[in-house]
Each structure stands twice: as C-alpha cells, then as structure tokens.
Amino acid sequence: MGIDSSISIGYGFRIPESYYHKLLRKDPEDDNYYIEDGHYTHELFDADSTFVYGKILYSTEAREYAWDGNREVVDLKKALKINHMQKKKIDRMAAKCRAKAIYFAAGTIY
C-alpha cells in the first residue's frame, strides 16, 4: 500500500524527455539514469522518473506510516509565493523546452 509518500507543491514544468540531457545530470552510478540537483530540478515520482524543472515551494513530510507526517493546514496562496526572478528564470527555461510552467501539486513516492 502506498503510504510511503508525500505531496509537493511548487512552480515549474515537467521536463520533456528530449531535454533530459540538457537540464539533468547523468547518474554517476549508472549512465542510463539521470538525477536531480534538488535546486531547480526535482525527481517527483521514483516509479517513472518524472522530472520537474522549477521550485518546490512546500512539501509534506514523507510518511512511512499513515500516522506520520504533517498535521498542519496550508494556505495555498501564501505557500505558493515565489521570488519574481526565479519565476522569470523558470518561465524562460519552459519556453526553451516548449513547455509551460504552472503552479503544480504532485504526489511523490519514495
């Protein structure tokens, strides 16, 4: 059962596979895989290696058991505030990749 998970919200776009080699680093342990830098690139679903370019603005804790994890209530508009220059940088990169940046929420499995 998939309880070992969290949810992340942020501003960014899913990196098209054809741009992986430009935006991501090769995994030093296995040349067939790419890895995130945790700064502007993030791997969201380990199961299918979905990468996002952007900023994670809020994440719930990873929960191994159902009773772990955050118990707070998050005001989305406050949580989704992003630095103007960072937003512009993400928008520019999205345009280069023929994608569109959005405010997203994504489930993450560890």
Partner: protein, 135 residues
C-alpha cells in the same frame, strides 16, 4: 468510504477546532476527535485534519477541522496506479484544478468565516480518516 489511508485534501474554507461550540455539541467538546459530536446542520462541511481513527490518543490529535468545501482529494493509491491510468497523472495544475474550480457553497463558507472572525481561503491538509478500522 472506508479505508482512505492517506488523503491529501484541497478545500476552500477556514480552520476551526474541536472547541468551537458553533459546530460541536458543547457536551462533547472535551472529548477526542473520534467521539466529538458535530452539529447536524454543519456535518457536511467539517473535515478532520490528520485524524487517524484507531490509533489516536488525546495528545496525538491535531484537534483541527477545516470548515469548507472539498475541491480535490488525493489518495495514495492514485499515485501507485498513475502508470496504469494515463488520465490520472498525479500532477495537478493548482490554478485550473483548485483555484478555478467551481464552488457550490463559497458564499455560505465566506459568511461562516466572517462569523468566526476569519477569512476563507484555499487550503491543503492531510486527512487520514479510516473508518471501521479497515486499515
């Protein structure tokens, strides 16, 4: 709905807690989240925050509720199955899926918020409701 093990909820509403006599029977507000009685006319608007039915002690409870309307609820299972169902990517567009969602009870919730001297907003919280000990 039984057995929602881990459920992240997006809602429009405001935070209240177990001690609010407007929503909970005064005779039960000293009890726990599993036994507190919600006044009938408000039942459909009250969502537990982080309540886990059979493993809850008074000290571990959030004692928080969100008064509001659910917009989107994300269950863990949908994360596991996203590969099998391409329509459900597990990747939500907050502007389209949450902020632009059609709300049926927005004005009512706004009025309730005013009565509670607060403002309604778009919220994200975790709800671990697990009925009938089915986990």
């Amino acid at each position: 709905m039984a057995g929602i093990v881990a459920n992240y909820v997006f809602a429009y509403g405001f935070i209240t807690d177990i001690s609010n006599p407007r929503y909970f029977e005064e005779s039960t507000i000293d009890s726990d989240m599993a036994t507190v009685k919600i006044k009938k006319r408000h039942q459909k608007y009250l969502n537990e925050v982080g309540w886990f039915h059979f493993d809850t002690t008074l000290d571990e409870q959030s004692k928080l509720f969100v008064f509001g309307e659910r917009i989107l609820a994300v269950e863990d299972e949908s994360f596991w199955y996203m590969d099998e169902n391409p329509d459900h990517s597990g990747f939500y567009n907050i502007q389209n899926d949450v902020f632009n969602a059609k709300l049926k009870h927005a004005s009512f919730i706004d009025k309730e918020a005013e009565l509670n001297k607060t403002k309604a907003s778009f919220l994200l919280f975790m709800n671990d409701k697990c009925e009938n000990n089915s986990f």
